[in-house]
Amino acid sequence: MQLALFWVFAILMLMSGLGVVFFRNPVSSAMSLVMAFVALAAVFVTLDAFFIAVVQVMVYAGAVLVLFLFIIMLLDLRAEARRPVNLLAWAGGGLVVSGFLAALVKVVVSDPAFQIAKPALSNPQINDVAMIGLALFHNFNLPFQIIGVLLLAATVGVVVLSKKELK
């Protein structure tokens, strides 16, 4: 049952990813991206990472995607007009992607360190949030504070970049 669920959500996620890349209309791409994010959260749940799955939905599907849709609306983007396709550029891009994929598949299939099954956990009902909180605030407190400063810098930067020129 869990095996079937993993493959259902993984295939859904990959199909949505292809939808993001190949739709002409930017709103359709954004909707495919939502589906990819939510399917990825479901795959996280099959990995017993419940807190990360919820954070994924909240931050990515809830904030990042709304930002994308606001920008699409603000810039009033239409469907991409068909320009003459640069065949050489497409061939080069396709070559890079397929080369990377071939190398990855070769490594993942051949290395026996990756053919392991899921180890059993000591307690099937893990208190995910408490454990991540402990790890975050005991071992990674300084990076956590620095992330706060980074978010402040990002916010100030966005406000400065969005200002119109004062005449």
């Binding site: 095996l3 993993f6 993984a10 996620m13 990959l14 990813g17 292809l18 993001v20 890349v21 930017p26 791409s29 991206l33 990819a36 990825l40 795959v43 996280f44 099959t46 990995l47 017993d48 990472a49 990360i52 994924q56 931050v59 990515y60 904030a63 990042v64 930002l67 994308f68 920008i71 699409i72 810039l75 983007l77 320009r83 550029a89 891009g93 992607v97 990377f100 994929l101 990855l104 598949v105 993942v108 053919q115 392991i116 099954a117 899921k118 180890p119 956990l121 307690n123 893990i126 454990m131 402990l134 790890a135 975050l136 071992n139 990076p143 980074l150 978010l151 966005v158 970049l161 969005s162």
Partner: protein, 105 residues
């Protein structure tokens, strides 16, 4: 029964789909979406390793803390990147990558 290889293959496929989006599409916003797909593929890889190499019967939470940080940094990056795109649109009135050629050799 899913092995670690299954999760890594799915993560790699998602990464290459994102990379194809960045390399082949010509609208800035779609390139940005491909970038987000690549970041998510890396997150999936990290969480898979965290689950498959548990420490004392619990998943390795250092990897999940790193995923938390990556999600946070990605959100900040999207905000700043979209602000830059809006400023670019105000200056050039286009979102097509091929129209941005003032620095072209």
């Amino acid at each position: 029964m899913t092995t670690l290889a299954n999760y890594l293959l799915v993560s790699g496929l998602l990464f290459s789909i994102g990379m194809a989006g960045v390399l082949l599409r010509r609208s800035i916003l779609i390139i940005f979406m491909g970038l987000e797909l690549m970041l998510n593929a890396a997150n999936l890889s990290l969480v898979a390793f965290s689950r498959f190499h548990p420490v004392n019967g619990l998943p390795n939470y250092n990897a999940q803390v790193l995923v938390f940080f990556i999600i946070t940094v990605a959100a900040a990056e999207v905000a700043v990147g979209l602000a830059i795109i809006v400023a670019l649109y105000r200056a050039k009135r286009t979102t097509h990558v091929e129209d941005l050629d003032t620095l072209k050799f």
